[in-house]
């Protein structure tokens, strides 16, 4: 299957006040999104998952910089485009939605006008046609009473409705790729379930690809086809969603899965990964997870494991990947 987006060797860094050395937030990430599929990018705060997508979209903050790598989108390297060329692609062929729709919407313009404006800007529709199309889109993304909602300001809508407006706006131009960065994290569960279902339905209809950035493994299981797990700026595992949940291989992924309270009865301890995420400026040598890994050996502390295929396209960055029921499976503390 052709890939809609192929990121290769992406390195991104940040400067901060009073520190000469730049912090490397993304360190050589390869990521491919097959056409029509949903790819999950998971990891904890600071692992570089959002920086990866922002780099590709040319939306890094002023103190951020792409150091190396390429991002091929339809044969074009997005990282080499000028701001103007990128702007044409953003919103037109690649759309983004974020965690808090309130911060992405203009508070003093009605939501209907904002969506209609996007339509007119990118497709040259006249005012009336754009309004009619916007109302159609609102209906499609499940906004009740779309005509009335057209004239509402963002603060007059609930969080769920605002996210629907954002999804509507991102869908107007039928993008090839939708990048969704924690789109349901701020929503209540009943609304989260609705939004995830909506995204699946829209994808089925339009055939677009989705890059789903999330920390929630439940959301990954719900919507993704292929999953990348990031830790400390690097991809540590990539697998088909079923393979990942049936037998993940990297000790970090296994630790994450084991620390989820699922059916764990009260009184039984949850597994927890010891220690904390390393500082970007003081990355451990060798495997970056080794200081927190209970299986780390001397070799892990000096030599960096490659992201290797452990069978059937399942990639894992570990010298001793687990398969099947490993020690973590029966772990109690």
């Amino acid at each position: 299957m052709p890939n809609i987006l192929e990121i290769k060797g992406l390195v991104a860094s940040f400067a901060s006040d009073g520190v000469r050395e730049r912090a490397i937030a993304v360190n050589g990430v390869d990521l491919a999104i097959p056409a029509g599929k949903t790819v999950g990018l998971v990891g904890e705060s600071g692992c570089g998952k959002s920086v990866t997508s922002l780099s590709v979209m040319g939306l890094l903050a002023d103190n951020g910089r792409v150091e190396a790598g390429e991002a091929l989108f339809g044969g074009v390297d997005l990282l080499k485009l000028s701001d103007r060329e990128l702007r044409k692609i953003r919103g037109n062929r690649i759309s983004m939605i974020f965690q808090e729709p309130m911060t992405s919407l203009n508070p003093v313009i009605t939501v209907g006008k904002q969506v209609a404006e996007a339509l007119r800007l990118h497709s040259g529709m006249d005012r009336q046609a754009a309004k009619a199309r916007t109302i159609e889109i609102f209906e499609k993304v499940g906004i009740p009473e779309p005509e009335r909602r057209y004239a509402c300001y963002p603060h007059q809508l609930s969080g769920g409705l605002r996210q629907r407006v954002m999804i509507g706006m991102s869908m107007v131009l039928k993008p090839d790729l939708l990048i969704a960065d924690e789109p349901t994290t701020a929503l209540d569960v009943s609304i989260e379930a609705q939004i995830l279902r909506l995204m699946r339905d829209l994808q089925r209809e339009s055939g677009m690809s989705i890059l789903m950035i999330t920390h929630n493994l439940g959301v990954v299981a719900e919507i993704c086809d292929l999953v990348y797990v990031m830790y400390a700026g690097e991809v540590v595992e990539r697998a088909d969603v079923n393979a990942l949940f049936a037998h993940c291989a990297h000790p970090y992924t296994r630790g994450l899965m084991a620390s989820l309270p699922r059916m764990t009865p009260k009184g039984q301890r949850l597994y927890n990964i010891r220690g904390t995420v390393p500082n970007l400026r003081a990355m451990p040598s060798g495997c970056r997870f080794s200081p927190r890994c209970e299986f780390a050996t001397e070799r892990c502390r000096v030599e960096k494991p490659p992201l290797a295929d452990i069978g059937g396209g399942h990639l894992c960055r570990c010298f001793a990947p687990e398969s099947g029921e490993g020690p973590m499976g029966g772990v109690s503390r």
Binding site: E44, G160, L161, D188, A193, V219, C224, N242, F245, S259
Partner: protein, 318 residues
């Protein structure tokens, strides 16, 4: 087991332009010593307001709170101060609840000073260091400031401060919602260890149903200020009786991709507003089973089977 906390027909209303927010409406429940009562519901259901009412941080519009058998509204002065030492709170965002200009040691010591525990500063400092160790913070960090800690460590500071006065009851308001999964597990383990070692009682408020299931003995589900269901944890999760409870459970995305194609009933509509809620059952506008009875009268919380309470005219079959 002894009853530690009881509320009687608690009501909290906030007047706003164009109506009244019915934040908490007629809520009665009790918590036994050593128990964890989970409190779940979506935003605006009144769960945090209920937590504040229990702590007497805000006065109820009507109704009463009993702590160790004493009616808080009838207590004042020294007696109220003593009772209050027995109940503490842990907040969602530890950063927002810690004074950035105070060292961690002073933050944890403050309640000791306020309640004049320990006769000398040295004695108090020793107590603080002991507490820091208990919650997994190195006592060497005594002089550091909140911004020098990670989110998980900050939550440990918040927990240490809540423990200083040896409380019996801790209200945990979304204590792990802002934390990453691996850190969340550390804090949940810490909370269960502390409960075991100190015989603590928790009122655990969260929107995360998996977390609540892990920690709670019983769970109370709220919708728009009212209690829908209150049952032992396993009964509630395996055989919910209130339609809202079932919808809520089915909506949680489970970390199991083989279940994604299961037909699930999703709630339609928006989270309703607690301003001028509907007559009768407040869930009826989103409930597929609602009929004329549900609009006519509010269903009372009834005991459907031993220990399982549900407020619905048409409870689900087991």
């Amino acid at each position: 087991m002894n009853e530690l906390l009881r509320t009687e027909r608690l009501v909290k209303e906030f007047p706003v332009k164009g109506g009244v927010v019915h934040a908490v409406s007629d809520v009665s429940f009790s918590v036994q010593e050593g128990e964890t009562l989970g409190l779940v519901g979506e935003s605006g259901c009144g769960k945090s307001t209920l937590g504040k009412l229990v702590l007497d941080l805000i006065p109820p519009t009507s109704g009463r709170v009993f702590f160790e058998g004493q009616d808080l509204s009838q207590c004042s002065g020294e007696r109220l101060r003593t009772l209050r030492r027995g109940m503490q709170m842990i907040f969602q965002d530890p950063y927002a609840s810690l004074d950035p200009r105070m060292s961690v040691g002073r933050i944890i010591m403050e309640p000791l000073t306020a309640h004049r525990v320990g006769s000398t500063r040295a004695e108090r400092k020793a107590l603080v260091c002991q507490l820091m160790e208990q919650v997994g913070l190195r006592p060497e960090f005594y002089d550091r400031y909140p911004h020098q800690f990670s989110g998980g460590q900050r939550q440990r500071i918040g927990i240490a401060r809540a423990l200083t006065l040896n409380p019996k009851l801790i209200i945990c308001d979304e204590p792990v919602s802002a934390l990453d999964v691996s850190i969340q597990a550390q804090i949940l383990n810490l909370l269960s260890d502390l409960q075991r070692d100190r015989r603590l009682t928790y009122l655990f408020i969260s929107h995360d149903l998996n977390v609540v299931r892990y920690l709670s003995d019983r769970v109370m589900v709220m919708f728009l200020g009212q209690v829908c269901e209150l049952s032992p944890t396993e009964a509630l999760y395996t055989a919910p009786r209130h339609p809202y409870t079932r919808f809520l459970l089915e909506a949680v995305p489970q970390p199991d991709p083989s279940r994604r194609d299961e037909a699930r009933a999703l709630l339609t509509g928006e989270v309703s507003s607690p301003v001028n809620p509907p007559s009768g059952c407040r869930f009826r506008l989103r409930c597929p089973y609602a009929d004329a009875d549900c609009a006519a009268s509010h269903p009372a919380l009834r005991e459907l089977s031993p220990g399982c309470f549900c407020a619905c005219h048409h409870p689900l079959e087991r």
